[in-house]
Symmetry: C2
Subunit: 141 residues, 2 copies
């Protein structure tokens, strides 16, 4: 990666590939999603369908907001509400071939961005950390 | 900021100043901290003492891990455990005068870094987003 000029680095070179990305399914109860988020430590993870197509993202804040009632946390909602009911779906995605600058722009307002192929199958995620590490290498050369 | 060469940009120029940063106090019950985190939407916020000195950071994951028992979320812990009991305290900090590269390195493994003065008083935070926005401006020049 270091030899390539920064602007020729692609999303594929930066991404965490799909098998290393924690994710949840559309029809999971939000209790399952919250346990995955707490055990992995991640703030948010991708939501995939049964065919491994990208559908959206779900985070701790969305789930906690859903169960926070007027007086207390209503834990009974954890088993009755599904990921599909609360997830965020109009999320910009990248292609493996997208250049560095496209990744940088996408990460301005998102902590990670999903990479999908032409048919919508999930390839992986590009994270802010990966972009910062690449920039740090580049500035030092 | 755009006219200055990137490497002369300082933490002070990038930071969100203290009055705009959501924070909690050492002696707050973790229930109060969780409500601040859910209402603000932030994953983690700084912890200050009564004199406005920086003491550490506390996040949603730390609080959720604390209340997650073997079978269920033990909500009674929310009022009996304090922020001081669970916060992370050995966190690297910056000074207002620190240059861009020092900020970039500190943000490799942290989503934000606190800025404190020589006496430990809290000045603000530098976020990954601020660094990414500055880098994007610089690459386009
Ligand atoms: N287990 C761990 N080991 C080492 N460092 C860790 C870590 N968990 C979190 N971090 C650090 O904290 C940052 C923020 O994590 P967060 O979970 O809020 O936000 C994460 C999370 O929502 C998502 N993410 C990252 N890796 C993931 C994975 N393997 N599977 C699913 N989601 C992932 O992408 C966001 C940005 O990740 P990024 O790496 O830029 O930034 C990460 C990384 O620097
Ligand atoms: N209310 C809001 N409006 C617009 N965008 C929002 C937002 N809340 C979150 N974001 C976006 O999501 C990113 C991650 O937020 P998170 O809460 O995980 O992680 C945040 C949060 O833990 C902390 N943070 C940021 N601003 C803060 C503030 N004013 N007070 C306290 N903590 C703050 O610094 C971390 C990194 O912030 P950063 O700006 O780089 O990155 C933010 C920003 O790009």
């Amino acid at each position: 990666l270091k030899e390539l000029p920064l602007l020729q680095v692609t999303a594929e070179m930066l991404m965490v590939s799909s098998e290393k990305v924690a994710h949840v399914q559309l029809n999971n109860p939000i209790e399952h999603a919250l346990l995955i988020l707490v055990k992995s430590g991640y703030s948010a993870v991708p939501v995939l369908d049964m065919q491994y197509k990208f559908q959206g993202i779900v985070g701790k804040n969305t789930i906690l907001n859903e169960i926070l009632g007027l007086e207390r946390f209503e834990l009974e909602k954890l088993s009755s509400v599904t990921v599909e009911d609360v997830m965020t779906s109009d999320i910009p995605c990248l292609r493996k071939s997208d250049p560095f600058l496209t990744c940088l722009k996408a990460l301005m307002d998102h902590t990670f961005v999903c990479v999908v192929n032409a048919n919508g199958y999930f390839d992986g995620i590009v994270t802010r950390r990966a972009v910062l590490k690449q920039l740090n290498k580049y500035i030092h050369v």
